[in-house]
Symmetry: C2
Subunit: 203 residues, 2 copies
């Protein structure tokens, strides 16, 4: 057994580091945390950013309602406790992707400041990039892409953010995107510019 | 608003697909699910495979106790329900990494067949690769790298797999690694050979 034990030790000493994964990918990892009201454009902008980065050979991934609420978080509802646990789990998964040198975009309302701050605290400083997609309630309600505001106004959905549940806007986000004034492509380019300026797009 | 809405639609049509991520990485994603008794060598072999693949330019990640039990699953204990939820969440996260064209290795005892089968069912056929790291209880207990068997025998740990909790060996795993007979490097090479043969290492 002595030989094999020695081998074990050698291998344990050679785990692949975060820096080595960054070197392979040619860039750093980051968490682009898009937050804002339903209909503000979070998911659309996140996917636009993801598409632009992918086109430049950057390794990316998107976490959104489609792949989280139906999978990892399918056993969570919309109570305050469940919303907090929802965001916590998404934060932990984002951290794993970030450790793997991936630029991960998340698109969740994430209405509570305390929950977003918990996620920020998980990451090394600078890797959590809070992006407030700022659109007026009027704009979001006029868009109403899934008809959810109509249902919330009719009382068919309870606890809907912006109607009968609060949205706590970020106080010091890394980026604010004005979704009332600019189109998706312009806003996505603002995010890319931030990543370039901050050195994330090289290893 | 009409212009912007049109832009939204365009972008939604251009989400990055799994196939595009595979093309960028130059290989497919897969889940290498290492299962076996405590001390059988799961984590050591998983890290050896990860290091070998990384050295060949393959995009990889390891999920293990260090980054899961302290993070995503820190609110879970060791009751049967919590063990099941532990494995379910790890399965869902593995699937996300796999969708991102990463070869992810997981190193958890995962003693229950039903739990492993739930994870298998999450993935498209072929992407879940169950790897039974087979070492006799005698070997594992002699290694006892964390001194856990000693504590379990002394009754200081309850519900310890192999001592007073069952380990259900896989009935039809994709790979069986004989950890009593072979060293870490040999076993890791057997995993790489499986991935090559099965076409995972090209896009």
């Amino acid at each position: 057994m002595a030989d094999q034990k020695a081998t074990n030790v050698t291998w344990h000493d050679h785990q692949v580091t975060k820096e080595q994964r960054q070197k392979l990918n040619g860039h750093k990892g980051a968490v682009l945390w898009f937050t804002g009201l339903s209909g503000c454009g979070k998911s659309t902008i996140a996917n636009a950013v993801d598409t632009m980065l992918h086109g430049r050979g950057i390794h990316t991934f998107v976490l959104d309602g489609d792949n989280i609420r139906m999978g990892l978080n399918k056993n969570l509802g919309f109570s305050p406790e469940d919303r907090t646990e929802n965001i916590r789990r998404i934060g932990e998964v984002s951290k794993l992707f970030c450790d793997g040198a991936t630029i991960v975009s998340t698109a969740f309302i994430s209405p509570y400041k305390a929950d977003r701050d918990i996620v920020r605290a998980l990451m090394p400083k600078g890797e959590f990039i809070e992006i407030y997609v700022n659109a007026s309630l009027e704009t979001c309600e006029a868009r109403d892409p899934k008809g959810l505001y109509k249902k919330a106004r009719a009382g068919q959905i309870k606890g809907f953010t912006g109607i009968d549940a609060p949205y706590e806007a970020p106080e010091a986000p890394e980026l604010v995107l004005d979704s009332d004034k600019f189109g998706v492509e312009d806003l996505a380019k603002q995010v890319i510019a931030y990543l370039e300026k901050s050195g994330f797009l090289s290893a």
